[in-house]
């Protein structure tokens, strides 16, 4: 297959596939936008060729133009292929986002322990015993490995400061 591959004929898709094919299309549009921005900044702001050599914008311009043009080709001429991903796939990102937000209050170790505990209990619907054992075990392991041995300065959190 060459760089531009073969152009496939669009096949009939189910409504579910139609809905899902929006995501790859959005990803491709995002790449086009990013490529155009990088190319524009590279050419007009940082300079493509400066003092007999590549300027600060040379690689941005080359890569930006390359990415934008190939992604545009992809968008218009290549069939959008999608696979079912389900609504739950982004749950870990959302839940972890909340856990990270709680770090200034609970500290890194406690936030991560609570995240594991609640995930196993609420999302995975395991028993309290399993959830607590895993959450606490992971917290202790994190503290021993990173906090004590490797001396990583984890955020302590307001809660610990108040208790102290």
């Amino acid at each position: 297959m060459g760089i531009f591959g073969e152009i496939n004929v669009e096949v009939e898709k189910s409504p579910e596939e139609d809905r899902l094919s929006l995501l790859p299309a959005l990803v491709t549009i995002g790449i086009v936008v990013m490529g155009v921005c990088w190319a524009a900044f590279g050419i007009f702001k940082y300079g493509v060729w400066v003092n007999n050599g590549p300027g600060g914008g040379f690689f941005s311009a080359v890569a930006g133009i390359g990415a934008a043009s190939l992604a545009a080709y992809e968008f218009f001429f290549s069939p959008v292929r999608a696979r079912p991903i389900g609504g739950k796939s982004l749950w870990p990102a959302g839940a972890m986002g909340l856990a990270i937000l709680s770090i200034p209050f609970l500290g890194m170790v406690l936030s991560m322990s609570v995240f594991i505990l609640l995930w196993i209990l609420v999302v995975e619907k395991k028993t309290w015993r399993q959830s607590i054992l895993t959450g606490v075990g992971a917290g202790v392991a994190l503290y021993l490995l990173f906090g004590l041995w490797l001396k990583v300065p984890f955020p302590q959190g307001l809660l610990l400061e108040l208790l102290q």
Binding site: M34, W38, N52, F59, P92, A93, I103, I120, F146, L150
Partner: protein, 503 residues
């Protein structure tokens, strides 16, 4: 003969109970540190350097050497088992290692990684022993033009390497180049694409990016394919993990080829283990019997990457010892250790401190043996670890990703960045854009930018500098061949078909 005698005297110095024990402890610690995402060999050696202050210099350097080797072994574990490369060179290992793991062959992938790491490391140390000084001189022949040509060769191989669609591979490569532009440019000192954020002034941190794009996106993927994941876990057993004779025969020639190439790349200043493992993988993909299937879960892919990586690690010692120039970040930390013990690496080192140098070289043999023994011993435990059901794996891996990305710079910005990179990589996977070319381009481009600028500064903008140097010209010719080969072979095949039809 002199070299052999010196090496034997080095072994006489290094083979004591305390040194062997130090090597074993160092190898074990190195494997653990290397396997933790976010902590590579630089961190491992830097963390343990202060511990060796109180030791005898020979024992200290033996321990650090073993830590270095242990880290190189451990880096592949999280790449193979969790699709989270422990360090940059392990990105290439993940390409075949994780698919093998998904097919229920994690044990085979781990054995392959260990055995080929050992072979690659041994090749590197043997070459260092007998040709250290000569190798370092070859390394010095690589100026900016030659390094630029080498990186261009590596970059041009990426797009053709991965994914169902070479076009999408190329797009991914371009995204990697664009992301590598973020931060203060080395050539001009101007901030680029920082969006006025002080966190981006130093550029995008590689480890949070790689943890997000490989590791966290994998967590999201496990939510989708959790039934498959649960099914494959039950297939694992230690007996099924062992390599049979035909598999050993498959990986040995690959490891030997990759070891020699990786070692030669490792001696180049600044080229590093990532370029070594990547070029070894590309070579295997081009010349290997099963090259076309690499990337889908072939032990040859794991063997090429790991042998190249470990041989390059040993290669980086050649310029360090012979010229006092560290060939990698870890070698730079070790240089600090050597100077701390009052040893000045450079051309006179072999004359002034023969005991120390040969003790160090012999300790590398010792460290490599200890690391492979420790690595093989823990495979049964790792295999058991993979049996943990996804219900527990998902939150635990997510937490490992957060902690790993935080511990690189102790920055919450890196944690958020990792999370965002994970979600974007997941969307890219859904849209079938391969992520690995992005990461490899991200690592290689800054080196290309600096070398290209330096080369053209030297020649005052005259591009003939790339043709005037035989090394650069050869590398660029190979690049051109790489690019044109698919088109030429297509044309040749078409003309043969036409002739056959005409007959």
């Amino acid at each position: 003969m002199d070299i052999l005698q010196s090496l034997l005297s080095g072994f006489a110095t290094s083979l004591t109970f305390s040194n062997i024990f130090a090597a074993l402890v160092g190898a074990g610690l190195g494997i653990v540190i290397g396997a933790i995402p976010g902590l590579g060999s630089v961190t491992g050696v830097a963390l343990l350097l202060p511990l060796t202050f109180q030791m005898d210099p020979i024992t200290g350097i033996i321990m650090l050497g073993a830590v270095y080797y242990g880290c190189m072994y451990g880096g592949s574990y999280s790449a193979i088992m969790l699709n989270i490369p422990g360090d940059a060179p392990a990105v290439v290992t993940a390409l075949d290692g994780y698919p093998l793991s998904k097919n229920g062959q994690a044990g085979k992938a781990l054995f392959t990684a260990n055995i080929s790491s050992f072979i690659g490391g041994t090749i590197g140390i043997i070459m260092l022993t007998f040709m250290g000084a000569a190798l370092a001189k070859i390394g010095l022949m690589f100026g900016p033009a030659e390094v630029a040509a080498l990186v261009i060769l590596a970059l041009c191989s990426i797009g053709w390497l991965l994914g169902d669609s070479p076009r999408k591979g190329l797009i991914s490569t371009f995204i990697g180049i664009m992301l590598s532009m973020v931060g203060i440019g080395l050539a001009f000192g101007q901030p680029r694409f920082t969006f006025d954020s002080m966190y981006l002034l130093n550029g995008i941190s590689f480890i949070p990016l790689v943890i997000g794009m490989f590791g966290f996106s994998q967590v999201l993927e496990m939510m989708v394919n959790r039934v498959d994941a649960a099914g494959l876990m039950t297939k694992l057993s230690l007996r099924e993990s062992l390599l049979d004779r035909s598999e050993v025969r498959r990986i040995i020639p690959v490891s030997l080829r990759s070891g020699v190439l990786g070692n030669l790349v490792g001696i180049l200043p600044g080229a590093g283990a990532t370029t070594g493992s990547f070029l070894a993988y590309v070579l295997e993909k081009k010349v290997g019997r099963h090259g076309a299937e690499m990337g889908t879960g072939r032990i040859e892919g794991v063997a090429a990457s790991e042998a190249g990586n470990n041989a390059a690690a040993a290669g980086s010692f050649a310029p360090l010892l012979s010229l006092g120039i560290p060939g990698s970040g870890t070698a730079a930390v070790l240089l600090g250790g050597l100077m701390m013990w009052g040893v000045q690496p450079g051309p006179m080192l072999f004359q002034n401190s023969p005991d120390f140098v040969w003790g160090l070289i012999s300790s590398m043999y010792l460290g490599n043996v200890m690391a492979v023994l420790a690595a093989l011993a823990i495979i049964p435990f790792l295999v058991k670890l993979l049996r943990v059901p996804p219900a527990f794996m998902i939150p635990v891996i997510a937490v490992v990703c957060v902690v790993g990305s935080y511990s690189v710079n102790n920055s919450m910005f890196d944690v958020w960045f990792m999370l965002g990179a994970g979600v974007i990589a997941f969307f890219m996977n859904v849209a079938k854009y391969p992520v690995a070319p992005l990461l490899l381009a991200f690592v290689l481009t800054p080196r290309l930018e600096t070398s290209l600028r330096q080369a053209l500064d030297i020649s005052r903008g005259d591009p003939s500098i790339f043709l005037g140097s035989p090394i650069a010209a050869t590398l660029l010719s190979i690049t051109l061949l790489f690019i044109l080969y698919p088109m030429i072979s297509k044309l040749v095949k078409a003309s043969i078909k036409k002739k056959q039809l005409a007959k």
